[in-house]
């Protein structure tokens, strides 16, 4: 009988319990792995350079910029109004929110923020909340899909389609809405649109229940998200996280409630806050936020007044065609607005809005005239991605989709 040869299992076993700095020194054990930029779980064109030892991450370096279009440079060369379509392409999962945030920053610079008619403000809130629901649906759908729950993705996209139908009848476009104007909106609500919103509210609540039944108490989902990608409260503040990613870590802060803009101070809504700061907390906050958004939508539909939607200032809003063709003054205003743009005062403002992904801020430095001297976009996804090396240090390779999905990033906004 042949002697049973003892393979040296002990040595291999002892290798894995070596302290991590010892592995760092012997670079032979570390493999460099490139993930992305074109990979289904990367939510766009994000790339990682990861140093892995087996399945454990040593160091992970995000590589961004594949979608850089120079939006800030373009803004310096466009008039205030011409930049609105570019904001659609920032967070392209919630274009209505971006439109609102940008025009509110310009309105703040112009000093007309308090003159916006009430009906316009209500419509903007409805737009923001619809966009929030649609963005969170994609966020949760893709999160589920990355972790293997494809049904969730299809269910979420089914509901998102209804938001697109609403966007289409509202602005004429399903995706790139460009709905807002500085000082108002491009058009009033279509007939019966608010009834459609009410109907959507009922339907989406059922869909959220269905989504939850797939994920919230799913053993596999829990195993893959609980305690994964933890950010503590202090880390979240220091790294500048905002929105759901900040609240998931236990920080009770929401711009809609703490620095209310539009008519958020007249609406009743809760701000859900997480406890642990892991992927599961961020998932459950998105579910709760969608329910709150439905709540806000219903209040708005009840409270929305009739009246004008645009401010009555021909130096800011384009006058109606009838007035342009009949009155000399309005013809001049129309010409000036179309050729030179709104004449803004010199000064600098920052306006941040609570968007689905976090705080989308616009810093505008104006020297007067029709276009900004410098316009800086503060994208929440840019900040979220910068935290990933911290979250993924020592994590497993399979945690990457969970972490990316739970942070809910979008590259159009990160790269600008």
């Amino acid at each position: 009988m042949a002697e049973i040869k003892d393979f040296e299992f002990e040595e291999m076993g002892s290798k894995s319990v070596q302290p991590s700095n010892a592995i760092n020194e012997s670079l032979g054990d570390v493999m460099t792995l490139s993930m992305g930029p074109s990979h289904p779980s990367m939510h766009g064109v994000l790339r990682f350079k990861a140093e892995v030892d087996g399945e454990i991450f040593h160091r992970i370096t995000p590589d961004i910029g594949y979608l850089h279009r120079g939006d800030e440079k373009i803004a310096e060369n466009k008039t205030w109004h011409q930049f609105i379509p570019y904001t659609d392409r920032l967070d392209y999962l919630a274009p209505l929110c971006n439109n609102v945030a940008y025009v509110m920053a310009v309105e703040k610079l112009l000093g007309i923020a308090d003159q916006i008619p009430e009906r316009c403000q209500f419509i903007r809130v409805i737009c923001c909340e619809l966009a929030r629901i649609s963005s969170h649906l994609v966020g949760i759908g893709c999160f589920g899909m990355d972790l293997g729950a494809l049904t969730v993705f299809l269910l979420a996209y089914n509901e998102r389609e209804k938001v697109f139908n609403l966007c289409e009848s509202l602005s004429g476009a399903r995706f790139t809405t460009s709905y807002t104007r500085i000082g108002g909106l491009s058009r009033d609500l279509p007939d019966g649109w608010l009834g459609e919103v009410n109907k959507f509210c009922d339907e989406v609540l059922k869909a959220i229940d269905d989504l939850e039944s797939f994920l919230t108490r799913n053993r596999i989902f829990l195993d893959r998200t609980e305690g994964i990608g933890v950010i503590t409260k202090n880390q979240a503040i220091s790294w500048g996280l905002t929105g759901v990613n900040l609240r998931g870590s236990g920080m009770d802060f929401d711009l809609r409630r703490d620095h209310p803009y539009l008519v958020y101070d007249r609406l009743n809504f809760d701000v859900p806050v997480g406890v642990k700061g892991d992927c599961y907390d961020r998932y459950i906050l998105r579910i709760l936020e969608m329910r709150e958004s439905v709540n806000i939508l219903r209040q708005c539909v009840k409270m929305i007044p009739s009246g004008p939607i645009n401010i009555d200032d021909p130096k800011i809003m384009l006058p109606t065609k009838k007035r342009v063709l009949t009155q000399m003054e309005d013809l001049i205003h129309h010409f000036m607005l179309a050729t030179e743009g709104i004449n803004a005062p010199a000064g600098e403002v920052y306006f941040g809005a609570e968007n689905p992904k976090g705080e989308l801020g616009f810093y505008i430095y104006s020297k007067g005239g029709g276009s900004p001297y410098r316009l800086k976009i503060r994208p929440p996804s840019f900040v979220s991605i910068s935290v990933m090396p911290l979250m993924l240090k020592g994590a497993m390779l399979a945690d990457v989709p969970a972490v990316i999905g739970s942070l809910d990033i979008v590259m159009g906004e990160c790269d600008r």
Partner: protein, 195 residues
């Protein structure tokens, strides 16, 4: 005790009377200008530790080529305790030394400063990882400077072209472009005439 942003700005001014200019208010926002950019780190540390500005919302820069101090750095600071926002600005001349990085105070400054370096070409001292972030490594220009044209400049980085080549050892073959950026007109490019 919660304070208004005006109070906090005046406290900053009182602590650094020589180097902080009079706070400016515009549209309800308060801007403090630091006159000596070498002491930025000291002032930022005071803002963070003594005045509770624990959140750096964003850092950015402005390029004004006609001014002697060409670049202005802008920091938007927020205090979760006081619930107020303050803007800190400081200007530096082109090529005149470096400015100290704030990434040891606020971790979010790390990537924001990389972006400023990438797009505006401002160097930061003591930055842990000052590399380009949006543009690729080796790109020679800083596109957000005012002297960089909107349509871009030709650089020596050739563009790679990939074409299907099933008979040449792979499904695709990638080769560098033969023409440089200035000669190439992408809209007229066809597989036959130019690669």
């Amino acid at each position: 005790m919660k304070k208004t942003v005006k109070d906090l700005a005046l406290r900053l001014k009182a602590h650094f009377p020589d180097i902080i200019a009079e706070p400016v208010e515009f549209r309800g926002e308060c801007t403090c200008t630091l006159l000596d950019s070498n002491r930025l780190h000291e002032v930022a540390e005071y803002l963070k530790d003594q005045l509770d500005f624990d959140f750096l919302k964003e850092a950015t820069s402005i390029d004004e080529p006609d001014k002697p101090l060409r670049f202005t750095l802008v920091y938007e600071l927020y205090s979760y305790y006081h619930r107020v926002q303050l803007r800190l600005k400081t200007s530096i001349a082109e090529g005149n030394g470096k400015i100290s990085s704030l990434s040891d105070l606020w971790a979010s400054a790390n990537w924001q400063e990389r972006e400023i370096y990438d797009l505006m070409g401002i160097q930061f001292e003591n930055h842990p990882d000052l590399r380009r972030i949006l543009m690729w490594d080796g790109y020679p220009f800083h596109p957000l400077r005012k002297d960089f044209p909107l349509e871009g400049k030709a650089s020596e980085c050739g563009v790679l072209f990939t074409r299907p080549a099933p008979m040449e050892g792979g499904p695709f073959v990638t080769q560098p472009g033969l023409l440089d950026d200035e000669d190439r007109e992408p809209r007229s490019r066809t597989p036959e005439n130019k690669f």
